[in-house]
Amino acid sequence: MKMQGAEALIESLKNEGVEVVFGYPGGSVLTLYDALYKTKFPHVLTKHEQGAIHAADGYARVTGKVGVCIATSGPGATNLITGIATAYMDSVPLVAITGQVGVALIGRDSFQEADICGITTPISKHNYLVKRVQDLPRVIKEAFYIARTGRPGPVVIDIAKDVFAATLDYEYPDSVNLRGYSPLYAGDPDSLKMAVQKIKQAKKPLIFVGGGVNISNTAKELRQLVKATGIPVVSSLMGLGAITGDAVEHLGMVGMHGTYAANMATVECDLLLGVGVRFDDRVTGSTEHFAPKAKIIHFDIDPAEINKNIRADLRIVGDLAWSLPLLNTLIIENGAENKGQLAPWRDQVVAWKQERPMNYKPRDGIVMPQQVIAKISELAPDAVIVTDVGQHQMWAAQFYNFSRERTFVTSGGLGTMGYGLPAAIGAQIGLPKKQVIAFCGDGGIMMNCQELATAANNGFPIKVIVMNNQVLGMVSQWQRLFYGERYSHTSIKGQTDFVKLAEAMGVIGLRITKPEDLEPILIKAIETPGPVLVDVALPADEDVVPMVPPGGCLDKMILGEW
């Protein structure tokens, strides 16, 4: 069928099952936006391209579908960069479509020209520059395939302006032909048999769950594994939700701000099963002293993750959707299930949990940040929680009781401030019936606060809780602990009234300044239809604890007082 490139792109999106795109128009994508107009294809107009890509990212994380965003050439495309890097670090499937100047103008420093393929090469799974309209259907097919298969990630399609207007004989390919890309699904079953033997021999085994479990939708299989073997579990930030937070076996988050029990168990275990993890430095601390007594079995779909940060004694490379069910079967077949042999280890782990549970020291007449998170956990136990980056993000990880996969949306790898608000918008669009609650710091909210208008204009009923301590909390914590209390540029106390800011954008604004207001105002926020922002006044000097100083050993934690 004869059609324009722009129409072919939209047809291809439909073929890929895309329900909505996030974007911002501009010169190079005028023809594409004309086609969006004519076809009435669902499009969410954000206030900034960065908002569009983080929204696409939030959408992708909660649904597991590929998020799609559109930006124009030059500055439009460069505004996507932080979002592409964010998605790449956390393995989020995205297709970012950018306009490029016309073919004849490429390479001449033309108006609004930037080399987006060049810029995005180190931060994307793959990228394309499309200069011929007949390549468009194949490229889109490949881009979606690459984004969603294997270890997911962002793919960039940079399309020259004239391609949108050129005519082609459109036919969408049924399959891809990529000689250099064949995502691995099943691995070596013998490696799993060896794993079962190691599990049988272990006296102090520990499962370390990462984002891979959420991405591969294998929380059910993981829970079966835990139930069958009785092995205690620790989570990375990205693994939260894969196992019920209040399960006896779950020791919580491990690493720099991990729980006492999780960090102690990691130091003491004799077998560590890393499941869909990449052993990030925020988890391991000193790599030399990480899990020093343990043999390590590393389960991951990406062979390049094996031995990258931590040397594995046994590698199980393959999709967790392949390895975990097979492991569960082999455990039963080989009699490796829980027969009480781990009782002393389980008792030890529970003792650590009781010795130092997650807690905080209340202060008279002051709302504590941990209390805000815990209260939301109580009032909205089924919510999707989105965060920005910093102290509030760690408190959310520590004090919200996550019970389901894909319910915690946070920039773990890149640590992108300004991520929370637009990601919450995307999450809400992906799950319109779910309660979506975003925690943002008073620093991070200002980095993309323009998206409050997007929420208001479209009636997206997100609830944004501004954890307002008037400082860049995490940085000031490091200044307090490691830089002699020299608070260089971390005080952000200013004239900004977040309630008025919200109201100016069309969002209902509420304020909490004292503990007795906490519950009623939070309930009011949750029950009020449409988008709501709650400004919560918090103390400036509260530290996130436990804390393992950077590069330290996990059992050398700053515990604070409570």
Binding site: T121, L129, G180, D302, P303, A304, N307
Partner: protein
Amino acid sequence: MKYTLAVLAENRPGVLTHISGLISRRAFNIESIAAGHSEETDTTRITIDVEVDDELELDQVVHQLSKLVDVIKIVNLTRVDHIDRELALIKVKASKVNRSELVDVVEIFRAKIVDVNRETMVIELTGEESKIDALCEVLIDFGIIEIVRTGKIALSRGPLAAKEM
């Protein structure tokens, strides 16, 4: 340790950018890289010489490069019997006085003189890196004006092609 890898990649624009970008981003220690067409028009063959501490680090290089969508296959030629060569063109000062002496050096190294004029001479040498290094060392005394080297290329001995290994 030094390893030689044969990388087969799609012959498309941007492929070398993807590969060189990855090498610099991951801070891999690449000693030489040489690319060109292969026996198949749609495939580029790249010979990479990489310096790593151990085989685990080499695995990282191979796995990370393999992740690139453009990269079709990587063969570690270090592990198989292979031939490697490099081509160099060297422009040296050559006057009437020392020209015959230079010709002697060229013959000893089995190099070739490919251009001569009143003041200079261009010498072509194909061989292993160490042989080229040795010639350059000798030519310093004559006065080297400029050198260009292709970087190492390598091919396995025996009937199998890299794509079949």
